[in-house]
Every structure is written in structure tokens, then in C-alpha cells.
């Protein structure tokens, strides 16, 4: 399929709904205008797409709704640069270009039968949400599911409605944390890597999946190593400046690997094979 169409040509979609997640993060629920295309759109949890604002450009985002829920494709966008600024101005009914799916995905087949430990920070919750929902939709395939999710402040937590649902479920455990004390906040306080160390999950039959700001990832990887997690038990996703998204334009390489096609999902074992250029 990849080779029969022009991979630079976005499909035109429409914004179905906009959710203000945090002061600087919005989620966009998008459907493709061509209903046949929407129906035949296939992707795997963890894959990304390029969103286009014609006249401004493209930027890459993970599709954070799971392939098990295909009413729309959801993207959570943090305002950071020129393209994201314009995406944030989109309203329901506005057109948007979608190019994807792109890249690899979480190795969810290999994780079957294992306990899953999600560790997310800030906007890094977006890719984890896809996989979490996918696993909840295929609950019997996996062992215990835990989510440790942190943000700077309570208002910086995304997916607030879902977080309440997750909290209520008895087939997963949710631990929320914020960086410092806030009034009305009765959950944990502390940086994600520190909370992780306090919780001290056993690495036994477990896979840890982490995504968040680079500094959080760095200390989380350290904490996981201290807890005895092996490099192949730790999975993360990377970000890079991308243009083409299909391994041609050159810029997102780390050594021989292109984050856009060989990633964004890497195990820590795979990352250690690459030159240290993060």
C-alpha cells in the first residue's frame, strides 16, 4: 500500500471536536472526509501521522486514539511552534490534512501475558493513552496494568475525564502525581522518577513503557535500571524534527536509524545500540 500512492499527499479531514486538555494542550478528533478512506484507515498503536495546515506546514503527532475505536482519529497537540500554534486555532468543522500512518508501533504482541507498567509525564501521556486503551480493549491478553502519570500541576494533566474512569476501574491501577503541593490535591506529590522509586515495582514479568519530557525520561530510565529492569524490558518513544515522515528527507536520523520510520518506538536495548545523539 505504501508504494501505490503519493506519500506526500495528505488526506483531507475535518475536525470533529476540540478538547481543551490543559492550558497549552488541546486534543483534536478528526475524521477523513472520504468515508471509504476513513473506513479503510488501518494503523497500529503508537504510529504517528503528520497533520497539515495548508499554508503553514506539517508536524508529527502520535494517533492517540486506539485502532480499536475508529469513530475518529485523535491527536493531542501541545502548543510549541508555528504549526502547533495554528492547529490550536482550529475549530470544529475546519479542514485539516492527515498524512499517515507513519513509523513503527508498540510491540504489543510481545507484551501479551506480561504485566504492563506505564510511566507518563505531561504530553508524553498521548502515545501511552493509545496503548493503554488498546490494552483495556483487549484486557484478557495482558497481566496487571499500572499507570503512573505525572504533570507539573493538576491542571496540566491531560484526559481528565478518562483519568476518572481509569481510577474507578478495578482491572488497572492508577497513580497520579504532580511536581509540588497544590490546594485540593490529595494524590501523590513528587517528580515521576522519584515516585517510581518509592513505588518500586518489581521487574518480574513486567514491561515498562515510558514517555515524557527528555529530562523525565532520563531519570526514569535511571530509576528503572536501579529497580532491576533490563534494557529490553523498557520501551520509550522518541521525538525529532521531521519533514517527510517517510525516511527520505534525512534529518531525523540517529546513526543508521530514522525516528520517522524505524521509530518512534524503541526499547532501551535498541537505543543503546545507537550513537548517543539525543
Amino acid at each position: 500500500m505504501a508504494n501505490s500512492i503519493n506519500p506526500f499527499l495528505p488526506k483531507i479531514g475535518t475536525v470533529l471536536k476540540v478538547v481543551q486538555e490543559t492550558p497549552n494542550i488541546k486534543s483534536f478528533q478528526v475524521v477523513l472526509n472520504d468515508q471509504e478512506r476513513m473506513k479503510s484507515f488501518r494503523f497500529e498503536p503508537g504510529q504517528a501521522a503528520q497533520l497539515s495546515i495548508f499554508g503553514v506546514g506539517e508536524a508529527t503527532f502520535v494517533i492517540n486514539s486506539p485502532p480499536t475505536r475508529m469513530e475518529y482519529l485523535q491527536f493531542s497537540v501541545m502548543q510549541a511552534g508555528e504549526v502547533t500554534e495554528r492547529i490550536h486555532q482550529l475549530k470544529e468543522g475546519n479542514p485539516i490534512g492527515v498524512r499517515g500512518p507513519l513509523g513503527n508501533w508498540f510491540p504489543y504482541e510481545d507484551m501479551k501475558g506480561k504485566d504492563i507498567y506505564f510511566i507518563g509525564g505531561g504530553i508524553g501521556m498521548a502515545p501511552l493513552r493509545t496503548l493503554l486503551l488498546f490494552m483495556l480493549d483487549n484486557r484478557k491478553d495482558y497481566g496487571e496494568i499500572t499507570l503512573l502519570y505525572g504533570a507539573r500541576s493538576p491542571q496540566d494533566l491531560c484526559y481528565k475525564e478518562e483519568v476518572k474512569e481509569w481510577e474507578a476501574r478495578d482491572d488497572m491501577e492508577l497513580i497520579l502525581t504532580v511536581d509540588r503541593e497544590f490546594p485540593e490535591w490529595d494524590k501523590r506529590v513528587g517528580l515521576v522518577p522519584n515516585v517510581l522509586k518509592e513505588l518500586a515495582p518489581s521487574p518480574q514479568n513486567k514491561v515498562a513503557i515510558t514517555c515524557g519530557p527528555p529530562i523525565m525520561i532520563r531519570f526514569t530510565l535511571q530509576a528503572l535500571a536501579e529497580l532491576g529492569f533490563k534494557d529490553d524490558q523498557v520501551i520509550t518513544t522518541l521525538e525529532r524534527r521531521m519533514k517527510c515522515g517517510i525516511g527520505l528527507c534525512g534529518r531525523c536520523n540517529i546513526g543508521t536509524k530514522y525516528v520517522c520510520i524505524d521509530g518512534p518506538v524503541f526499547s532501551l536495548a535498541q537505543l543503546k545500540e545507537l550513537p548517543p545523539e539525543l
Binding site: F54, G57, L248
Partner: protein, 346 residues
């Protein structure tokens, strides 16, 4: 090569190019200033420069410095100005084209493009269509320059890989031999005369050319990985001024940028050459830049050409030894010297 060879007299070339121009876009090296030779669309009276390497490789013909990927138009709903629709059109055009007078290093350069753009996991429809429509007529080198090192990277002054028709300079013109069917088709033009008597001379000319392989590149891919986090790159890149000259004159550099250029309600999404030597190339929206200084950028440039690319593409270097980067560099940074030092320190 075969006995299908024909003789092309030098004075028949303008006529040949003019006739071919009826069917094809014909590009040939033309002298555009005292010192600059460029592949231009051939016009009668143009000053052909077939005896020297062109200042730029012909890659621009297949991979234009600027090309339109798509065009878009916004339509506002007159009933509700909040509402708008966008219409997107693919803009793909590939006309039959001849590149006349490429060098073996130029022709091999396109093989690097083929590997990435044509034969990979994703294909580039724009390049692919143009490549298919293009015939490459190569002139073999009988006088390599002192910046040439094609033999060190798997090529050679008489290498015919990537060429469709091959011309060997002989007395009074060129001995032309087809390397592909596409190239053979051109021989039907009246400019090509019977050439049995030139076949021996052509063979002798080719045998006479000598360009010793001056670099020992065995194991360089591994050396580069091992040299990754050392002060080495600080030292070798010290004189680099971080411009894009080396990448833009390179027959294998294919990195590109994509930007939208709008005028009113219409615009184009264009692809333009980009350079790994530029700061903006890897700058992320967050402000983070994984290759923030020329040290990391130069390391990646050499790493890509001599380690990552050959690892990903069956040993093929991302370099054809044309030497243009050495000639174009404002501070004469010599890639050969860098590679020698990599071998010493890696």
C-alpha cells in the same frame, strides 16, 4: 563493452542535441561564466563545456532545488466565513529528459538517490517519475582532477554504472557505446557514424586512464561509530564555517526541506534542498537541537556518507568521490584528509 559502438564527431554534437530537443528536454554542461560550468537546457549557440567536470552535478534535473509537491486553495463559505474548505492538487510532472555529458561520478551519484528514493520502504513519486523518464549519457574521464577520488569509493573514471550511453573521448570526438536499451535508442540519430575503427582507440584510452585508489576505507563504517563521542570531531571541524556549499554541490546529498508558501487563498507546498550543516535542519519546535553545533553536524555528515548509508544500503557509500565538496569549500576542508584521520584514530 559491445561492438554496437558508434562514432560521434565533436562537431555533430550541437546538431544532435538540437534534434533530441524535439523529443526530450536536453541538458548539457554549458559555460556560464569564466569559471562556472552548469547543466543547462541546451539552446543553439550555447557554449558546451564537455572536457571538464561541471561546477554542479546534474542532480538538479532529477531533484530540483525547488519543486512543488502540491498546490492548495482555500474556499470560504460565503454564508459562514468561519467555515472553509481546502482543495489540494498533486503537481507531478515528468517530461522525457536527456542528461548529456554527465561524468561517471555524477551517474553513480544518482544510484544513491535510487537506493533511497526509488527502492526503499517508501518511494518518492516525483523522483521516481523523473528518473524513469531520463536517459543519461556519460562522458568517461580521461583526465581526472587532483580532487578526484572516485576509485577510493567504489567507482572509477571509466565506470559505467548508472549510465545509459557511454562516451569515450577519442580523436575528433567520442566513441559511443550503449549501456542500456534506453541509451542504445539514441544511437539511431544520424550524428552517430559507424565506428569500428574507433573501438580500439577507445579501449586504449580507457586503459590509459589511471587514478589510483588513494584511500583505504575498509572498516571505516565501524571506525566512525567508535569515534563518535570524542574530541576528534571538534578538531576536524574547527575550520568548517558551517555553510551548505559542500552539500549543495554534492551529487549524492539528497536531504530536503518542505515548506508552504502562500499567496492569498492559494499556495504551494514546496520541497527545497536542505543541508545537514545548517543549525535549523534539526532544530525542534521546543528549542531542543540534537545537533546544535558544527561539531555534531559535521560528524553526522561524514557518519552518514561513510557509515550509516553503507550500513543501510549494502555497502554503498554516500559519496562518489567527485571532489566537488573539496573544490567548493571556502576553507578547503578536504574530506579525504578527514577520512584518513578517521582511519588513524578510529
Amino acid at each position: 563493452m559491445s561492438n554496437k559502438g558508434r562514432f560521434l564527431a565533436t562537431d555533430k554534437i550541437p546538431g544532435l542535441l538540437k534534434r533530441l530537443g524535439g523529443t526530450y528536454r536536453v541538458f548539457a554542461p554549458v559555460k556560464v561564466s569564466d569559471t562556472v560550468i552548469l547543466f543547462h537546457e541546451f539552446k543553439e549557440g550555447a557554449q558546451l563545456a564537455l572536457n571538464k567536470q561541471a561546477t554542479l552535478p546534474p542532480k538538479e534535473i532529477l531533484f530540483p532545488q525547488t519543486e512543488c509537491l502540491l498546490s492548495y486553495t482555500y474556499h470560504k463559505d460565503p454564508e459562514n466565513l468561519e467555515k472553509s474548505e481546502v482543495q489540494v492538487e498533486e503537481t507531478l510532472e515528468a517530461l522525457p529528459t536527456i542528461i548529456f555529458g554527465a561524468r561517471p561520478c555524477d551517474a553513480r551519484g544518482l544510484m544513491v538517490f535510487d537506493a533511497v528514493f526509488n527502492d526503499g520502504q517508501w518511494r518518492d513519486p516525483y523522483y521516481k517519475a523523473r528518473r524513469k523518464a531520463t536517459t543519461i549519457v556519460t562522458i568517461l574521464c580521461t583526465q581526472p582532477e587532483n580532487t578526484c577520488f572516485c576509485t577510493s569509493v567504489g567507482g572509477g573514471p571509466t565506470n559505467t554504472e548508472g549510465s545509459d550511453l557511454v562516451l569515450t573521448p577519442v580523436t575528433g570526438g567520442y566513441f559511443a557505446e550503449p549501456a542500456t536499451e534506453k541509451g542504445g535508442a539514441l544511437l539511431q540519430d544520424e550524428a552517430f557514424a559507424l565506428g569500428h575503427n574507433k573501438a580500439d582507440e577507445a579501449r586504449e584510452e580507457r586503459e590509459k586512464v589511471s587514478l589510483e585508489s588513494e584511500l583505504e576505507l575498509d572498516g571505516i563504517a565501524q571506525c566512525l561509530l567508535e569515534l563518535f563521542s570524542t574530541d576528534f570531531w571538534k578538531q576536524v571541524s574547527a575550520k568548517c564555517i558551517s555553510c551548505g556549499a559542500c552539500t549543495y554541490v554534492c551529487p549524492t546529498c539528497y536531504c530536503f526541506n518542505i515548506t508552504d508558501e502562500t499567496a492569498g487563498v492559494k499556495g504551494e507546498r514546496i520541497r527545497t534542498w536542505d543541508s545537514c550543516m545548517f543549525y535549523q535542519y534539526t532544530l525542534e519546535a521546543s528549542g531542543h537541537n540534537p545537533r546544535p553545533t558544527k561539531v555534531e553536524r559535521y560528524r553526522n555528515r561524514i557518519g552518514h556518507k561513510f557509515s550509516y548509508h553503507p550500513t543501510n544500503y549494502e555497502g554503498m557509500f554516500g559519496c562518489t568521490g567527485c571532489g566537488r565538496c573539496i573544490k567548493a569549500c571556502p576553507v578547503s576542508l578536504d574530506i579525504r584528509q578527514v577520512l584518513r584521520e578517521v582511519k588513524v584514530h578510529g
